[in-house]
Symmetry: C2
Subunit: 572 residues, 2 copies
């Protein structure tokens, strides 16, 4: 592609409405233009990248044995009523009425439509297993669309739906899709993690999210240094840091007149925050359903995990205790609470890390005082109830026993679900099994945010000059820049010859023949993130060299034609 014939339209200004780097860079590079809130037109440049992602996804899905279909984006209300989702899906569902006043929605997902399709298509177990996928436009009416195509309302998605006679076979395909997703993101050149996900709301039996790692990611992910283990920080199991040390101090009262937080107490005492214990007073229910006061203990540097707490017996719908309830059970006011000598017998839940502490600091249940040198089994009974009730943190042992946890931020770009029979049963999809009996197939569903990947890749791959595409996602692998202020025929011909030669060698190459000054030309090329830049100039030609630079290299090199070709060989 000659850039003089391509509608490249970059901008120097940083757009005010863009909050995150990918949105800023996509606007500056002219990859997208906003039509309305959450609605973007993909420019020629942006679409080139989007199509690369689409092609990689399609080819890997085909290679994995999935079969492509194309379902309508407009879906009738009746189908959504069969699963109860017409109401339950909520405000994200964009609803509309046709000229006959029949209701439809713009599909945010296609479980209903594919299950209806399957009702017509699938009659026998002999047609199973089958995995249908499509790459298609979806709409979700976000409350606050923002971040450009990262959270657009209209977006491009790959969604796949598989059908199986047995749960075991669903498990096999789940693994197949899990592996396929890994191949897709690896092929795209992205650093990613498959993250174990909570499936509560969807009711499936297994679920993993695929996250592209980027500092700006919305989700914190705990991952192991020694294995594939990764989970959302809120879901990652936080294990005990190791055995409890022996008591070394005597328990003693510390004067903490205004110090109500662990941080303040540690600072006053000049000790590490890890030696303090945070006491959180809650109200749950006992076995008879009566209100029950609970003191939850986590280490001062840890954060209580509400999801984990709510899974404990009696804490399903817990709330924070009131000051009155606290005084009633502990005889103190908030800021000085602790598990030692409560006013009444109370339920104490100690995090695993707290159970492993010795010589720790807790509130004294007396205004203005904390206790230091506290030890289990000596100053208070051994904890009856030890549980994982905190967020995992960097440095924790990995729950699978291999390595320690690091914390990274990620952007969710894919999701695999073992759905089970939720949709097949709700919509009465059955096939005849090998005994001639009607059976509801088990289903899996597998999504990839195709347009979102483009933004996520930028979040992961950029610097102060712009985007730095992974090879596989770049609009072109290479660009030949022609510096030719005098309109020298030799420079023109050499640039065009190299451009043709690189393309003929299978390296997708653009020719920057727009006639810009070198500074402006190079700034554009860096902004739009072409991995390999080769400059053809009069001076270079005189020396028999081209100036080559990788997008992320700090220096350019002067290479002759053969060296340029060999440097780019293998990038095709």
């Amino acid at each position: 592609m000659r850039l003089s014939q391509f509608h490249l339209h970059t901008s120097k200004e940083t757009p005010a409405e863009a909050e995150i780097v990918s949105h800023k860079l996509m606007l500056k590079a002219g990859m997208i233009r906003k039509l309305a809130a959450g609605l973007y037109t993909w420019s020629p440049l942006g679409l080139r990248v989007l199509r690369k992602v689409e092609r990689a996804v399609r080819e890997e899905m085909n290679a994995a044995g999935a079969i492509e279909v194309l379902m309508p984006s407009v879906q009738p209300k009746e189908l959504w009523e069969e699963t109860g989702r017409w109401e339950k899906f909520g405000g994200q569902l964009l609803k509309m009425q046709d000229r006959k006043e029949a209701w439809y929605c713009y599909g945010p997902t296609h479980e209903e439509v594919i299950t209806d399709f399957a009702r017509n298509e699938l009659a026998s177990y002999k047609q199973l297993p089958v995995n249908f996928f499509q790459i298609q436009t979806k709409f979700r009416d976000e409350i606050r669309p923002r971040f450009g195509v990262m959270r657009a309302r209209e977006f491009l998605m790959k969604d796949a739906y598989s059908f199986h006679l047995t749960d075991e076979d669903l498990g096999r395909e789940y693994k197949n899709m899990y592996d396929t997703y890994g191949r897709i993101f690896t092929r795209l050149g992205l650093k990613f993690r498959a993250v174990f996900a909570d499936t509560g709301a969807i009711g499936g039996s297994a679920s993993h999210e695929f996250h592209v790692l980027a500092d700006s990611g919305e989700d914190a992910i705990a991952f192991s240094s020694g294995s594939d283990y990764a989970a959302n920080v809120e879901l990652a199991e936080a294990v005990s840091p190791g055995p409890r040390a022996a008591a070394a101090e005597a328990m003693h009262k510390v004067d903490t007149p205004t110090q109500k937080t662990c941080e303040d107490v540690a600072a006053l005492m000049g000790i590490a925050l890890q030696r303090t214990v945070k006491s959180v007073a809650l109200m749950g229910e006992d076995a008879e359903g009566n209100p029950q006061f609970v003191l939850a203990l986590v280490r001062g540097d840890h954060v209580v995990n509400e999801i984990k707490l709510s899974k404990l017996a009696g804490l399903g719908e817990y709330r924070l205790a009131t000051e009155e309830e606290i005084d009633q059970h502990l005889g103190s006011e908030p800021g000085f609470l602790g598990p030692v000598a409560p006013k009444k017998a109370i339920r104490i839940v100690a995090d695993r890390s707290v159970a492993a502490m010795a010589d720790f600091v807790v509130g004294a249940n007396e205004k203005g005082f904390h206790l230091a040198g506290v030890n289990w089994g000596r100053d208070l009974p051994e904890p009856h109830e030890v549980a994982d009730i905190r967020n995992a943190v960097e440095g924790d042992p990995s729950p699978d026993g291999h390595g320690t946890l690091g914390i990274a931020r990620g952007i969710e770009v894919g999701h695999v679900f073992a759905l089970g029979r939720k949709y097949s049963e709700a919509m009465k999809l059955t096939v005849l099994d090998n005994n001639g009996k009607a059976a509801a197939p088990a289903m899996g569903c597998y999504g990839i945010g195709v347009s979102r990947i483009v933004a996520a890749a930028i979040e992961q791959n950029h610097d102060e000059n712009g985007i730095a595409w992974p090879e596989a996602m770049a609009p072109w692998q290479a660009v030949v820049c022609m510096i030719n202020p005098k309109n020298d025929a030799a420079v023109s011909e050499a640039a065009q010859a190299l451009y043709r030669e690189l393309n003929a060698a299978g390296i997708e190459t653009a020719l920057d023949d727009r006639g810009l000054r070198p500074g402006a030309m190079f700034a554009d090329i860096e902004l739009i993130g072409i991995p390999h830049r080769v400059v053809v100039s009069e001076r270079g030609l005189a020396a028999g060299t081209f100036e080559y630079r990788h997008r992320l290299a700090s220096e350019a090199e002067n290479l002759d034609r053969a060296a340029v070709l060999s440097r780019l060989a293998g990038k095709a």
Copy 2:
């Protein structure tokens, strides 16, 4: 592709809801499944064909210098109000409100969006000309969606929009797109015609429709045997059949007591219908705007063309004359009208063919009588007003002077428009011209109904056994059918080897390894329209041959391996 791994799902039954052959065959072949009125899911088989069309369109558009973009399908009301089309577009526009109660529509076309995009993207004449295209899902809320994907509500369209500083440059790109469309339909293997179209309603300066020819087509097209001339029958110019012969008969009255139509009179008299003249009594307006009685004359075998009539002075909003008005001007009742000796002086408009007639038959303006042997200039004055007021018919001289007209039926699958400045002016799109002055660019728009082409191709290419795809649109060029009731390893291996060999030679080949009986297998293969079928059987292997048959051949041939390969060579 092994068909045992592909979700092929044909049906023997002819679906009751399908009215036209393409709809029937697409349902029987399992290419599409209905989701709701005018909404279809494309099955794996259907999508393979749709993608072939899409790829051909995309590649030819790219080769023609157009640049691909992707615009949202959901469009804000505000843009449509700028052009007045929010109201004017009518019931086909599917409107919806988002969660903030802002109005949007599902785009039926993208003139507004691309013009808005251009307002942001185009600032200088140096960026022109440019032609943006997309291949994207559209929605038109048809009153009566039917004929499957031929007139679906949601459909796939290629739409392109070009921008130009001058009308001349628009004309150049119009020609470029016209030629590109010809290449697309030729490449797809379709018989088609580019048809000159009426542009009245859209207000453009030039417009052609591209029709795939098929007996079931909705539109009648007049086309020349000696040139590229083609036009909708209603718009084709009907020229005079030649010079008038000399008068040979005397005018005489004929007794036609109950014969009120030309057909009845010709039958009674035993003469050709072409020798009669039909007199149609109309009321138009004279130059002062007063009602004016007009007698329009066309040959008995011709049909009056209302569009052509309405373009004549004073006939813009004509109506048929009442019996009272007829009696007042001609002194007769309908069925016996004629131009000879009217009661009052009247305006007579003679079709060109009528002006060239001699010895013709007309009504006598007297109940129960016609006049025969009538001649211009002798029995009535030479016609003052001769005009083209009839539909062209088969055998007419082509209006461009080359050959004669044939009439064919066509299905509109493409349309090119020179829009002019309608949208750029309405939406205040300007660029700076080479004098630094703001100028509204001239625009062209160019559409192709990608999904409709699939149905149109079937209308043109089928027989009683099913679809007979043109090579370029077939889901696979060839299929290797394995007849192997005994599970003979040699048959299996030979079939797989041939299948691999054909694919390696670039011939897209399927392997029918589903294990069906030959009759059922062949019926499926004929129904889905694979051009080349090669059968591998035990008997054939024993003789060292494969059975080859082209989809449209009446007989199969036994060919050895080399002959099969050479027969299919060049089909890649």
